[in-house]
Symmetry: C2
Subunit: 758 residues, 2 copies
């Protein structure tokens, strides 16, 4: 086996020390000379007509430089469905609707000015329940759509589910539901927009998609009459993404509009309350599921229909069914699958992408139902999953090509490490749940690509410009390791530049756990070109065929005559300083050969898939209903661990997020109003809640991944809730089907169960 010097090493995140010592610049820290402060006025009603907005008192306030309402701005359309706008006109549809905005010389003045804006509303009845909203005579959120049901074709049927139902020996039917949770980024949102004198725009913004945001802003500028302008998107260091920054938001356009109006840089910065009420959540779901198997436990079908609360506007949340399809069709071997989903407008907050992108909701239903089905069939849950496990070489009904697949090994690992067979105390339970996720990109846009530029210098140092967006996950470090390994340098020698559209090549964004795979392959491709040049030059200088030379430890070494050695920096200088020489540089664009889904939703959307199984041992307090995690094992097939430490960090963080989803987190809505917009009332898990997590890694060395790696950004939080739900059932015999699994629900279920027994 090849011995690596950087790959597989536990290298701390490149900016770890700068972060720990407060030197990195968050949007909070970014300032520009003459900068103004923007502030947004939100709706006072979940659904109302705007009759009048009087901004005169705000405008009179000293220090106020601009006040904007929906009437003052061009028709910029936002979101997947283009059903949203930066400032609302005529009607508000949720409490988070942006009604007016102010730019002032200091944040306090902006805040005071906002309070001086007088909006006259005519309140309308609201609709807050997606099931109600689907009814024929329901109040319409968007009148012109005629219905609250989004016209999105989430419907597939592979094989023959009805026939399979008939043939099944065991069938279970159930309904599961999930509620709103939010990303809880430690860094609140913000954007700073600035125009130059040619009306080219620079915007510093918290985004996971610099290139796609650039596209949105180019469009917005066009609507503003600014055609053919250049837009530069710079993402400062961000305190968490988790999908929350995959769209562009009203506050970003408001910063742009205010900057354009005032000709000054304008920064809009969210406080924590705004972060809760004006950023998007994970979408709540109601899932009906039916699964069946033959007498040997072989799954015969899976039949799922789903309702998603879309909220008042449409962002990526409405497209999560495209990812839910993945576990629904392809988690375990399932020959017959049917799925349909409806996204429904309500006057609630609107939803967006969040780590797992629908996968956690779907997997909660699937993996809860799997246990119920296993029990019906009289098969141990672990064994039941082994029977149905995906295998390398499988082609799933949806057309996924399963190349590397370590799901069975992951299940075995859980069985072993969780001590599955160990006798359990009263109130103790164990549970397992598996996952499939895209691990080799996900073609959801026209390009799934990423570009890289590499530039060497006379000192054996390398600058890498990557399209990848580091948002704390460690993209910078993984890319540095890949380039260092390929060029035989140390990670110290590599400087990774990211998150600036002027400098960095295009990339579709930090989503779908795609960065290590796609940006990694892109970086590797660019590094290979440099390596080729180095070897060619070295072959001449060292009088040794290129294929006999290896790059290692900042040197070029002859495999056969190890004393024939040249330092890499020396070679670079020789290449540079020879007659008509050059400093080596390279560019490479990698767009994987994965497929967009067709109209039938078939297509190999990822070059490879990541698998995993989570196991958890819980202790349920039958007096209080409280669920305690005793220990947690999260085994993943990651292809190859480029950096085991960062990988474990992803898993730990994902699992903690999953546990919060399972047990404590919910954005409480009352008639569209968020009742707990703060960290006292919203129960995100904190350091003191950390549980013992083991994260064993299965390395299947994927043939297409960079050094064999697959993506692992999201999986950590995918099967956590069903694993815990299964463990709770295993412990006390009650199955909670509605997240979160609060003590109240557990206690009520225990009581109900007892009362039934009695």
């Amino acid at each position: 086996m090849k011995e690596f010097t950087s790959i597989g090493k536990r290298i701390p995140k490149l900016d770890a020390v700068e972060k720990a010592t407060g030197k990195v610049q968050y949007i909070q820290d970014v300032t520009r000379p003459g900068m103004l402060y923007g502030k947004i006025l939100y709706s006072r009603y979940p659904h109302a007509k705007i009759l009048k907005i009087d901004t005169s008192r705000a405008e009179k306030l000293s220090g106020v430089r601009a006040v904007l309402t929906g009437d003052d701005i061009p028709e910029i359309k936002m979101g997947v469905y283009k059903d949203n706008s930066p400032l609302k006109k005529g009607k508000v549809r949720s409490y988070r609707d942006e009604v007016a905005a102010v730019a002032a010389t200091d944040p306090e003045t902006a805040e005071r000015a906002i309070k001086r804006i007088e909006v006259t509303y005519e309140a309308l009845p609201g609709i807050f329940d997606p099931v109600e909203a689907m009814k024929e005579d329901a109040i319409l959120v968007h009148e012109k759509h005629k219905t609250n049901i989004l016209k999105m074709p989430w419907k597939l049927h592979y094989g023959d589910v009805e026939k399979a139902k008939e043939q099944s020996e065991f069938v279970v039917d159930d309904q599961f539901s999930t509620t709103w949770v939010t990303h809880c980024c430690m860094g609140t949102s913000g954007a700073l927009a600035e125009f130059d004198h040619h009306n080219n725009l620079t915007i510093y913004t918290n985004t996971q998609i610099p290139s796609l945001a650039q596209n949105d802003f180019v469009d917005a500028l066009k609507t503003m009459g600014l055609k053919n302008r250049r837009v530069r998107v710079i993402k400062p260091c961000i305190g968490g993404g988790f999908g929350s920054k995959l769209d562009t938001y009203a506050y970003e356009y408001i910063a742009i509009l205010l900057a354009f109006k005032t000709r000054k840089p304008v920064k809009v910065l969210f406080n924590r309350e705004e972060e809760f009420i004006a950023t998007s959540t994970r979408q709540p779901t109601i899932t009906d599921i039916s699964q069946g198997c033959d007498k040997n436990g072989k799954l015969l079908f899976r039949d799922i229909s789903m309702i998603l609360d879309n909220g008042a506007y449409t962002s990526w949340g409405a497209t999560t069914p495209s990812v839910m399809m993945m576990p629904i069709t392809s988690l375990y071997r399932v020959p017959n699958v049917r799925y349909s989903a409806k996204c429904v407008y309500t006057n609630n907050t609107y939803s967006q992408a969040m780590r797992g992108y629908g996968n956690p909701q779907a997997t909660f239903a699937i993996e809860s139902s799997m246990d119920t089905l296993a029990e019906a069939a009289g098969i141990d849950p672990v064994e039941f999953r082994r029977i149905n496990s995906n295998q390398p070489g499988d082609h799933t009904t949806q057309g996924f090509h399963i190349t590397s697949c370590g799901l069975k090994e992951c299940i075995d690992k859980i069985h072993e490490q969780l001590e599955w067979e160990k006798p359990r105390e009263r109130g103790e339970g164990i549970g397992i749940a598996s996952l499939i996720h895209v691990g080799g990109g996900a073609r959801v846009y026209k390009s799934d690509g990423c570009g890289t530029i590499i530039k060497t210098d006379d000192y054996g140092k390398v600058n890498v410009f990557t399209g990848a967006t580091d948002m704390g996950q460690g993209a910078d470090t993984v890319i540095a390791q890949i380039v260092a390994e390929e060029l035989g340098l140390w990670v110290d020698d590599i400087n990774v530049i990211h998150s600036d559209t002027n400098i960095c090549p295009w990339d579709v964004g930090a989503h779908a756990s795609r960065t290590t795979f796609v940006a990694g392959n892109s970086a590797l491709g660019a590094a290979k070109k440099i390596k080729e040049s180095i070897l060619e030059i070295a072959a001449g200088l060292m009088k040794e065929p290129a294929e006999n030379l290896v790059l290692k430890g900042r040197k070029i070494i002859s495999r056969e005559n190890p004393e024939n050695v040249m330092e890499t920096d020396r070679l670079l200088r020789k290449a540079h300083f020879r007659h008509q020489g050059q400093m080596l540089a390279s560019e490479y664009f990698y767009d994987p050969a994965n497929e967009n889904m067709g109209r039938d939703f078939k297509g190999n959307m990822s070059m490879t898939y990541t698998f995993g199984a989570h196991g958890v041992r819980v202790k349920v307090d039958e007096e209080t209903g409280k669920v305690k995690i005793v220990n947690y094992v999260a085994a993943h097939d990651v292809g190859r661990a480029i950096n085991p430490m960062l990988l474990e960090g992803q898993v730990y963080g994902g699992v903690m997020m999953g546990i919060g989803y399972a047990l404590t987190e919910q954005v409480i809505h009352e008639k569209g109003e968020i009742m707990n917009p703060n960290f006292r009332d919203y129960k995100v898990l904190t350091a003191k809640d950390a549980v013992d997590i083991d994260a064993p890694v299965i390395e299947t060395i994927d043939k297409d991944g960079p050094f064999g790696a697959k993506g692992i950004g999201e999986p950590g939080c995918v099967p956590t809730a069903p694993a815990i739900a299964n463990a709770v059932y295993n412990a006390v015999g009650v199955r909670i089907k509605d997240l979160p699994i609060t003590p109240e629900k557990v206690l009520a279920a225990i009581k109900e169960k007892k009362s039934k027994k009695d």
Copy 2:
């Protein structure tokens, strides 16, 4: 003739509006969180032993974070000869010697701390005259060198000068001298140094040589024990370069040393007085010249020996003879040439590069002597120059290959535009002087190269990362024009990124009027690669052979079927969004095929040479000696004017600098002390002194230049002084041989002439 859309256009400098409105960031504007302010203590003597430095009172001052003396720092060696150090130890050799430095929380505290440092000196006798300094028993500036004469081999002899002297019909001998002048950059010098936690250095500094400065700082870090660290040099917008920023200086190392000691960013910023006393000047020269011609006026020989006052340390000033050789051997056809130069240490300020790099001093002697020789031979000065003019295809004695050459046309232009034959009033005179300068790079370093990276986007916009350093001369704009022309885009579509060693490829620096030629060719090379890709893709999409397609006006157009058109941005999107597509990018490194000079100083140092002739009409007030410029014509063969407006700006600025050199400017030294370190006493010309300058352009379309262009950065100030001196002679019959031509000198000469007559 090809019709251009960007080349040849009068396009304003890209950052002109941002500059005019104060939006650009100079070093004065750059701040970093937690930044400290550095201040330098200079010597109290021109030559003294340092007996003791007591820093205790300074250290006690509240707000002082570090005090450094020569004893506290490692042996960092600076300059061409490595005879200088950031802080002096044991001995000071000039008033500008840096003795101690302070970092404090604010500039005022730093200033106060500096005053509290007590240095005990033992004054030594100084040596201020290079002729005195060359004597055997002279006081030694650097004892270990044993002599004050630098061991630099400036000596050449091509042909046989002695024989040619004998063969000459007319011979003239003369001595000319020049004094110190300085660059008078409107932006004073400064540097801001910062270390990260891995001891990688970022330094913002006023430099014309980001890549070479990086090299110096990498070396300094090594001396400081910081091996294998990354160094990033960022040049903020600078208020003038003119050669002053071609070396690294004590203040930059002091900022680095203070930052390293304090672990904080440290900025050292010069005030105007420091800018005068602690930055380097043009070197004073004493030139003995002998020239001779045959009876037809054909030059037969040129024999020059020169003494340069090097000052106390050695920077690039000592290497200016390498450029002086160019006019000495190759301005006009001269078959026999001899040249020697001695650079001599004194206790004066040390000299450096300044626009023209020795050429103005040499050309002052040559072109003054040319008029004297013409007079001796009885030939009109214009005719005399025509007779001896360089011609395309010439190979000069030094081995220069003259490719394009419009010198004769320039001389004719002067003759015509200055109305050479027009009768003149009393006190009115006309003068002419010519120039040769490198116009196609100048190989003075191991590489004369420049790299470019180009990155396109989905909107038909282009980011160009160039090695070129824009310092106000317009490199950004010229590069944008070249790329826009080649890609058929508008200059608005091009964003040029420069002056950051992390992002921009290597370049040897903004010197030798090389940027338009070398960086231009580099940008053109990178653009050609993009163009090739575009045409190849377009050929497929438009079903037309690539060679039938042209890029113009943001479109790809078929030459034969003009209705077969595709918008460039659309094509880029198609290239990007096709299966496994890519965003086009390219990298290109251009190192010209020019030659380093050999030990005999022969070699074609530039790919091409720029020529010019300046003519001036003066009016001399015989009562006061004051010389008034009536009008000035500066004709240049520039190959091709990429941007006539910027080109004229270079010529206007150069000529004004030349007029200052000729008439008013001098850094007055008294025993090593600069007596006029301010703009009241140093007579730089200002807007109110502006004269009427015509800048006709001769386009010879150089075969190697980008779109035929040659360099024109320096020539404007090269022949100004001799043209004026010749005109003064023509006006009142006195020849001033010592610059500047002050009224006092003119008046004295007129008086002397009269007294001789009487």
